[in-house]
Symmetry: C2
Subunit: 407 residues, 2 copies
């Protein structure tokens, strides 16, 4: 199905939010409390109201202020909902009903689409891990011995995941350069971004059970663009031995629209290759797949990087299987990030740390300004899209944030 | 006030749950859905029902299935509630009303007392960090250079925090000993405990603000006993460079009763001493304080260790100030663990890793059995108490868990 199948929606060809996409978010208007909406073209469908009018009981979960109730329902409900929505939006006989519940996208306020249960961040790009290893541990083997055996990850702070457009207050903390005798305290002087995809999980499991890699698709609802803001000076001083903490926990931004895994089916691609072969629990019956998602990193209006998600070493299903292999239960609303998306070429690196090679090769913006790390007032916007069926584009929208001075 | 002030409660002198304690939990009965209860002696007060009958509107938060709504109210409400409860339980004129809402403790089911928002685990015992450093990084300086400058911590998995009594399924995962050529997969063969206190946080802050060390008391509601179950083999292979993940995330057990910081006022003690002096944001106007909480670790009925919380290097207020110094907001229901409580003497070490010195000095139980790590069927129970006013005991109850085989 393509946008052309719904002429009455009058979508421009190649619109990133056609009927093959239908991402979910949470919106409000002055007269409507936050509830689930579906993006279609330049409009937002009040999905719950539409379902209510159509007499569809299961649409009640869309009248709540987060996606969590819908996420809890699982794969069958997600697929049924997608078919129902595509039917509503393409069947001329449903037009009158649907049109009553369409709102111009620019007229609504978008909210964080989910109540984040647990947030995990992975480290799935070989090139990113290699670059960070070279920068933070010069002279040592850049990849740790475990890197190619398991998708390395850690838990982040769920309570500071914010929706696109939220200002980012510059974090304050301790840092100490190796040559300094003692740590100093103050606003971070090496504030950075990390361009990632985040995966939204639903259909809870029981404590002690695991999600097999072949069953991961039953729990993977969709993907968001994710900016894992990072204070490199704070991180470098704190992270040995228990990992990143305050260097990351001040904010993580996600896009307002969750693109479903169903919409990303045509974007599935093979992985670049895994050597050595992973242990059986990471292999499964079906070959693992990556996603052909093209990301753009824009800093103050200049595109400074174009990371390719297909370069990632570990697949989303492998990450979820690994996350739960110890019996850790998953909940509706769990979110995991892929880790920074970086490729081999400089222009595909997903962080300023790598783009500026730790400040030694500053990035030049279109107005002639240079940046190694972020200054107050800087705005970072990530965009992304993936191929859909029949050559359409599946858009992710954007995740944006402006740095404001430390309080 | 002491338990003797309420003769009609007929508490034995020195009862760990006297009117100076009054810990909060969540209970249910066959006829009552989960709601907040207050432990008094060997009974549980249905606090919400009692408040409702007394016409106290603010008691509504106690009719909910977690402490979170009450936690959100903040310090003033917590103090007012404590005074009100002590009045109810000691004033003879309130006796008839109160007695209608007392249930025998053994007749109720206890639940996880809070919906855990974010869970952080610290590493605040110098002796524990030193022991772990010696065991995991032999030949290197046992404490990392940052250790005495900041309370090291990391985020754990909030969704796998479970209440005392929950069985612990042995986790499965990857491990690789240094001399092995490749990782192997299977149930953990080095399953361990960590005896900790956990601190329950309330009164949310705004993103970008921090909790000053002197204001931490406004957000610290109370403490629980916490067992941070740890799979040492999984942890050792995965934790470099991003910290513990699956070695910890399968389960964290907490006691069913949350002892308030008010009840622990008489247990405040000075810290062992901090050198070098911490940065100003960790100092504040008032000297930091620790807590004189005595912990007992029981393995299959044998007490194998008696850790002393007063040995910890960093104070709870310092940990909270550090956790939020970067502007990370806190939410009602946040929980942070102290890290394993270990002292200088062998019999005060809070983990089997340390007690058995990585398996080289197994612990002998009263039945002659020995343990380096936990076997299936083993039961671990932590108990704790602190001094209260006038020589009474403030009890924490227990946190228990039995290891069941991997699924």
């Amino acid at each position: 199905m393509t946008a052309a199948d719904s002429p009455w929606l009058e979508l421009a060809p190649g619109h990133p939010f056609g009927v093959d996409n239908l991402p979910y978010g949470v919106f409000s208007t002055p007269g409507t409390a936050p509830r689930v909406g579906v993006r279609i073209g330049d409009q937002v469908l009040d999905a719950g109201a539409c379902a209510e009018q159509a007499g569809m009981e299961s649409g009640e979960v869309w009248l709540t202020p987060s996606l969590n109730a819908f996420l809890a329902q699982g794969r069958q409900a997600w697929s049924a909902a997608r078919h129902w929505l595509q039917e509503q939006l393409t069947n001329e006989r449903r037009r009158d009903c649907v049109e009553q519940h369409l709102l111009p996208a620019e007229s609504v306020t978008l909210h964080l689409p989910l109540e984040v249960a647990d947030y995990v961040d992975f480290y799935a790009s070989e090139q990113h891990a290699t670059n960070v290893g070279r920068i933070f541990r010069p002279g040592a083997e850049p990849l740790t011995p475990n890197w190619r055996h398991l998708p390395i990850g850690y838990h982040g702070r769920a309570g500071t995941v914010v929706v696109s457009g939220t200002d980012i207050v510059r974090p304050t903390g301790q840092r100490k350069a190796p040559e300094e005798p003692a740590p100093t305290f103050g606003p971070s002087i090496r504030l950075d971004i990390e361009a990632e995809l985040g995966f939204v999980v639903g259909d809870a499991t029981r404590l002690g059970d695991r999600v097999a890699v072949d069953d991961a698709g039953d729990h993977l609802f969709g993907a968001v663009l994710l900016n894992d803001w990072s204070a490199r000076d704070i991180q470098a001083w704190e992270y040995v031995p228990l990992g990143p903490f305050l260097g990351k926990s001040f904010a993580t931004s996600v896009s307002a629209w969750v693109v479903t895994m169903d919409a990303l089916e045509a974007a599935r691609v093979g992985l670049p290759g895994q050597d050595p072969q992973p242990l059986p629990y990471l292999r499964g019956e079906h070959p693992p797949y990556g996603l052909d998602v093209h990301v753009e990193v824009e800093l103050n209006g200049t595109v400074v990087s174009r990371p390719e998600y297909r370069d990632l070493y570990w697949s989303p299903a492998q990450m979820l299987a690994h996350l739960s292999v110890n019996g850790a239960s998953v909940r509706a609303g769990d979110l995991f990030g892929s880790g920074t998306i970086s490729g081999r070429e400089r222009q595909t690196r997903g962080s300023l740390l790598e783009l500026s090679w730790n400040g030694t090769e500053p990035v030049t913006l279109s107005d002639g300004a240079t940046r190694s790390f972020l200054e107050d007032g800087d705005t970072v916007v990530l965009h992304a899209w993936a191929p859909g069926p029949g050559g359409v584009r599946i858009g992710f929208g954007e995740v944006s944030g402006t740095v404001v001075p430390a309080r």
